[in-house]
Structures are given as C-alpha cells and as structure tokens.
Symmetry: C2
Subunit: 136 residues, 2 copies
DNA sequence: TCGTTGTTTATAATTATTCTAAAGAAGATT
DNA sequence: AATCTTCTTTAGAATAATTATAAACAACGA
C-alpha cells in the first residue's frame, strides 16, 4: 500500500522524472500485496482498467525497461512469444503453468540451495534460475 | 557418425518422409559428437555451408518443429530474440553466456538433484530446468 | 504409371519489440 | 512567472522472428 508520494520519491531518487504515466504504472505494478508476473501487454491493459488513464504502448515499454534497468523488475526466462517480468526482484524460482501461461513463485526453500560445481574460465555466475514447467 | 541410411529409417519410423531436405538437416544436426545448441538461423546457414544445398527457411522451421514434436530436439528456455534448440533431449541444465549468446551443457552432477517441495493441485511437473547465466 | 497424400517453397501475414521525430511536460535559471 | 533546457511521451514507422498460405513438387502405395 504505497502512497503516490512514495512513488514520486522513488522515481526522483532513481533520476526518473515522476510523470503521470510513470506514477500510474507504479500504482499498477507495486501497489499490491503479492508479487506480480506480467507481460507488457498485460500491463498495458491493466493500466487502462485500474487507473482509467491510457498510457501509450511505447511508454509502457520504455518504463518497464527503465525499471528493469534500475533493478525494480526482473525478467523471467521462458520461451514464450512475449517476455515476462516480475515485481519480485529477489533471487527466486518459478513454476510455469504451460496451459494457463501463468507464472507462480517458488520460495527458495521449495527448491533448496543449488550449487553449481562447474565453472568456465573468465566467466562468473550472474544468476541461477530454476523453471519448473507444469502440465495437467 | 550416423549414416544416411539410418536417418532415412529414423524418419520413416517417425512417419516423416525422408526427403532430401530432412536428410540434410539430420546430417547437420545429428551427425556430430557433441551436443549441438542452435537457433533456426544458425541451422539455416549451416545447412548451406555443410551440405552445399540450400533449404528454404520455411522448411527449416517446419522440420525443427516436426523434430521437436517427435522428441528429437529440446527447446531451451532463455529470453533471447531467437529460440534456442538442443540436440541433447535428456533432462539437463545450461550455462548461458550472455555476451557470446552461447549455451553450454551442464551435467546433472554439476548441479545436483533438485527436489521441488511444492505442488499445485491438478498439475504435475513436466520439466525442471536450471539456467545459469554467465557474465565476464 | 497413376492417384493420393505429405512436403517444400516463395511469399505474404502476423506479432512482439524497437526506433524516430515531433509535441509536451518537468525542472532549473533568471 | 517567463524562459530555457532536458527528459518524456506519443503515434506511427521500421525491424525481425515466426507462422500461415497455397501452388508446385516429391514420396508412396496400389
Ligand atoms: Mn516471481
Ligand atoms: Mn544442452
Ligand atoms: Zn529489459
Ligand atoms: Zn516447437
């Protein structure tokens, strides 16, 4: 339950001007209890529905990428025609319900620690993600 | 080192007619020692290079999907502008070198067994895949 | 050889995403 | 408050991967 003022400050602190559009997007993305998994198109439609104001598709793309770059959104690796994002930016894993095309968070304790025993010279590990596909 | 005859039989056994194009694609995909990770475009170009014969892009898509459906190819979940496939269809995990855009196999013993402790009613697990992103 | 069915192909259509450039809004400066 | 600068939004065009279409072609069985 963040207030509009908090979003404005968060944007300013990130050197992103607090525009009407960005604040609306923040409301839709971050003003919720549970983690939120979405595609750009999901978000685009939700903004209209939840705020009553329309934001251009280009701005939705711009903003999602800006937030992603700032570390406020995580990109989830799945093979889909659309890219999925997540408001939960901590390291965690996912179920993907293939039929419903829906992501579900897995707690780290649901998966257990993963120790990668192999290494590639000159490279370091950036992320370790488990994707568990679900079917009926 | 499979022979052409073996590919023809394999195709027939899969109720796929052994056309010149499909045999060429088999040569490029399966006539190698190590597992092969590729995009459609990689494959399209390799066919020309390795067999000297050109196969239309549409056929490359068709064939890859046919082989995928038959279980001869695995699709690797990463967020890229192109879809990655793998000739190693066993359950296994991957490094993805983000800079080089290259996949590297991880042996199961490099990752260890993964036990998913959570379940969703009415759904069963189809696959469990670990993707380890590498950076410099 | 002939008829049937499956396959290839060029090309068009679709779709997600990015680019462009002009208009608008925010913040700083007077 | 007016002005200037910089950042942002936007519609629309461009790009690029993938899928669909439908006609020509090849494999197969009779
Ligand atoms: Mn999540
Ligand atoms: Mn592999
Ligand atoms: Zn991004
Ligand atoms: Zn496929």
């Amino acid at each position: 339950m963040s207030s509009k003022q908090e979003f404005i400050e968060k944007l300013r602190n990130s050197s992103l001007r607090p525009t009407k559009q960005r604040i609306n997007i923040c409301e839709v993305l971050f003003n919720r209890d549970k983690t939120f998994h979405f595609t750009i198109n999901d978000l685009f439609n939700l903004i209209k529905d939840k705020t009553g104001e329309k934001v251009s598709l280009a701005t939705v793309y711009n903003t999602v990428h800006a937030f992603h770059k700032k570390g406020y959104l995580k990109e989830i690796p799945i093979n889909s025609n659309q890219t999925y994002f997540d408001t939960n930016v901590t390291d965690h894993h996912h179920f993907f319900d293939v039929k419903e095309e829906k992501l579900i968070d897995l707690k780290n304790e649901d998966v257990g620690p993963i120790e990668i025993q192999k290494s590639i010279p000159g490279k370091k590990i950036k992320s370790v993600e488990v994707l568990v596909k679900l079917e009926d």
